[in-house]
Amino acid sequence: MSPQLIDLFVAAAEETLLMVAASGAATLVLGLPLAILLVVTARDGLLPAPGFNRVAGSLVNIFRSTPFIILLVALIPFTRLVVGTSIGTVAAIVPLSIAAIPFYARIAEVALREVDRGLIEAVEAMGGTRRDLVVKVLVPEALPGLVAGFTITIVALIGQSAMAGVVGGGGLGDLAIRYGYQRFDTTVMAAVIVVLIVFVSAVQFAGDRLAARLNKRI
């Protein structure tokens, strides 16, 4: 690879990291509360609200079932509203987040549901408020599962960020398409794949380690 191409490569890697980190952060900040809401408002939850639960669940399903490449384009007006532009790396963060939030919410919901009802009852019996039940029981007890689920979400985000080129988001995937595929530059293609493998492996390794360390159940 020419020095020029190497610069492009580094820039693309940075764009990928930025997109994944920013949308990952948004997913954690918005997806986890959404998951908690889904669990808490369920019929057997701490604060049953079947109507709200159904609406929220349907919204999650709608976004989960829309293919990302379509979401990317369909969300352009919304993206412009949020970040002021519909083109570029920052603009790609919006649809990436919108896709990952419901994805993570469903995974986190499963982890939160796994928490033994007996623990909820025990803390209720000692005079815990609903807030205590969420903060001191649900989240800490589900933490290993929440971390494992977040790892899966980040890996999915790395994959989806490859499509960001459609809205000029750049990143490694875009580099691979334009140089590796359209210009038949196999070296670039191979290099991108290797770097992505390294990224995904590092995320998975770190996530597994953290989840195992947080798991006090064994």
């Binding site: 623990l119 025990a122 803390v123 000692m126 005079g127 001191k136």
Partner: protein
Amino acid sequence: MINKAIKSGSGKADPTVHAAPESPAARAGTQPGEARHAIIGLSGLRKSFGKQNETVAALDDVSLAVRPGEILGIIGRSGAGKSTLLRCINGLERPDTGAVLIDGEDVTRYGASQLLALRRTIGMIFQHFNLLSSRTVFGNVALPLELAGVPRARIEERVARLLDLVGLADKRDAYPAKLSGGQKQRVGIARALATEPRILLCDEATSALDPETTRQILALLADINAKLGLTIVLITHEMSVVRDLCDRMVVLERGRIVEEGPVAEIFAAPVSAVTRSLLQEVMPDLPSALAERIEAEPRPGAQALVRLRFSGEGAGEPVIAELARRLDVAASVLHGTVEYIKRTPVGVLVIALPADLPRPLDEIVGFLGERAQSAELVGYVAPTH
């Protein structure tokens, strides 16, 4: 089993004859006025579960008074409503109708914040311990104090004392997964005592433990009851737990109280069929090998079987010898058990009377009934050869 109770002689009332299972034997039950001295008073509790058409009554008009400092055992089979009853006391369940008086205040009318405050004065331990796996032993015991907003320094000091009390000071930083069942329940007890409650609710607290660990946990509870004057209400399906720990007991069946009174009295003279059947576990009143051979009517040469129950001083009376000396009847002992309940001996004895009796059977049973707590004809066994 044939339960043909013959009314024992004059004087002593035989509860096996008089009390019908429908009417809770008021032996030492809730008296009017007693509720005033009660720390917990339940009156007319009803609670049913299910949809409109198919409701199941978990509690059906339950009234009960728990005295300060006593250990009350609520026993019944699964589905009898024990769990619901226990959860009405700390407001985890709200009865459909009826009042739950804690120190004379009806807590069923409490709002959310009053309920939270109430629960901080009532400790609870569970069959499956329900410890947070994400917290250490220290963290688990500290939790109720954190919820109550106790300052960190006081939490440290208080948890250290509680862990000493339950004998787990060396496990302070261990996670529950590394503890044995008995140790987990000790943590549960320390946690329940953290906010210095006056009432401790035990939900099948030893049902997941082996017999030896059960014995240790029950001893710890008895010790805490004596040291701290804590009122304990426990639910269990094991008569041995009631025998080893409780002062008084309540037998629950299909949401109703079928028997209530001091443990020794009920062990000596169980009234309801449920109580009798639950008692088989600790104090079999007829070995199954014998029960199979019993017939309702005497065949020629059959021996009459009489079951005697004893309690207190009566347990020391030489009944068999008296029978031989005074009535010239040589009875043989087929089965016997004696249990000590809070130092009161309580026993069951099954004797066989010879086929050729010098006196009418009724008279002999009456004679025995005067000397024992009760005597009843169980049936007849034909000679085996």
